[in-house]
């Protein structure tokens, strides 16, 4: 069995290449992870329902709805890195709940994605999250 002996200059090159490949793999893996979080209809996850909302320029986002008595500050969303996506995971009882997003404390936003939508009687539209 032949063993290839690397020359003195080739060995550091291979080591550098290995590091570069590992780094690339890490970047790919991290982007894959980041891409798993994207705006979607509220989805059941372990420990509740995950709300996701894309608002790259927002300073604060809250999810407000029938499940928290429409109290503005009850359920804050967290910004997911620099993706512009805001996330909140909320424990909800089974049933149907209406909600909207409140951006920067003053702008009520119709959820872009929800299982159903209902008009609220006041000229706006609520999203509906259904917990089965």
């Amino acid at each position: 069995m032949h063993r290839i002996r690397l020359s003195g200059t080739l060995r550091p090159m291979m080591s550098g290449l290995r590091i570069a490949m590992v780094s690339l793999a890490l970047v790919v893996a991290m982007s894959a992870c980041a891409s798993t979080i994207k705006p979607d209809v509220p989805k059941p996850v372990t420990g509740g329902v995950r709300f996701t909302y894309f608002a790259p320029t927002a300073n604060t986002v809250y999810v407000v709805g029938s499940f928290n008595g429409w109290v503005k500050g009850a359920t804050s969303m967290k910004r997911e890195g620099k993706t512009g996506i805001w996330i909140a995971e909320v424990m909800l009882l089974s049933g149907e709940h209406t909600f909207m997003y409140l951006v920067d404390g003053k702008e009520w936003v119709v959820p872009p994605l929800a299982e159903d939508f209902v008009t609220d009687g006041f000229g706006q539209t609520n999203g509906v999250v259904i917990v089965r």
């Binding site: 429409w70 109290v71 149907e96 872009p112 929800a114 209902v118 008009t119 009687g121």
Partner: protein, 283 residues
């Protein structure tokens, strides 16, 4: 009998009034006052709304959804005088729901066991979304299967499903026939509503004739479960057909709509999950 016992007895008798009055909880009252104060409204402005809720509760209408509507309006910065007509309309829907339910039970078409409040809420929602009281009465009649009476919560879910189908521009006649078939086949409440929502999402396919309600109804009449209909028979070839597949998910399958929480709300609709326009009515 000594006086305290007599007083307790009297209190118990008064508490068990036949209309099962529902009172506004202190928590709801406090939350409404907090929201009112945050919005800078006077107590007088909101008291009229609270009085309306209290009166509705005395008639046996659940106060929680009414209080929720007041909270929602105040939170969104709506003037109390603009909340008033919305609340009145909601109360009217509840009164109609109460009448239809009572009538259907007294005629022996609907089984009064189960959760009356959830049934009332579901029916009120259906009425607010466009089902009519007459259609609900008819559904109570035609939805009776071999097992006899329709459970009141199933009637409510059926009525809501009919309203959703009407939002999907399915004719009331076809929608009612489909829902009645689902009721006769013993569809769970969630199944009926999911089926209606799926049809609504696929509204254009029905309008273009690529899918038709009659074929869905035929499948239901053959005992096909709702979560299989679009998965097995995606007639259009255009949809993934997997949206109805709730059963495969352990946290979704098999539970009845609303479960035990009684989580309820106002309804209207949009035909799509991503909000491309909406129908529905205020509730």
């Amino acid at each position: 009998m000594n006086i305290p016992v007599w007083l307790v007895g009297l209190a118990m008798c008064l508490g068990a009034s036949p209309v099962m009055a529902d009172s506004l909880s202190n928590q709801d009252r406090e939350e409404i006052n907090r929201l009112r104060s945050a919005q800078g409204h006077s107590a007088e402005e909101v008291n009229a709304l609270l009085e309306q809720v209290t009166k509705a509760g005395e008639k046996g209408i659940p106060t929680e959804p009414l209080a929720n509507k007041v909270k929602e309006g105040l939170a969104k910065g709506v003037e109390p005088k603009r909340i008033d007509p919305v609340l009145r309309q909601l109360v009217t829907h509840f009164e109609s729901a109460h009448d239809v339910l009572q009538e259907s039970v007294s005629k022996g078409m609907v089984d009064s066991s189960g959760n009356r409040q959830r049934a009332l809420e579901g029916l009120a929602e259906a009425l607010s979304r466009g089902a009519t009281a007459e259609e609900v009465r008819e559904l109570a009649k035609t939805g009776q299967g071999a097992g006899g009476k329709v459970p009141q919560e199933s009637l409510a879910s059926g009525a809501k499903s009919l309203a959703i189908l009407k939002e999907a521009k399915i004719s009331a006649k076809d929608g009612a026939a489909l829902v009645a078939e689902g009721l006769r086949q013993g569809y769970r409440s969630a199944e009926l509503a999911d089926l209606a929502r799926e049809i609504k999402r696929r509204g254009p396919e029905f309008q273009q004739g690529r899918l038709n309600v009659q074929s869905i109804r035929d499948q239901v009449s053959k005992g096909q479960r709702a979560d299989r209909i679009f998965r097995d028979g995606d007639h259009s070839g255009s949809g993934s057909g997997d949206r109805m597949d709730r059963s495969g998910s352990s946290d979704r399958g098999g539970r009845d709509d609303r479960g035990n929480s009684g989580g309820r709300d106002d309804r209207g609709s949009r035909p799509d999950r991503n909000g491309s326009g909406h129908g529905g009515r205020d509730h």
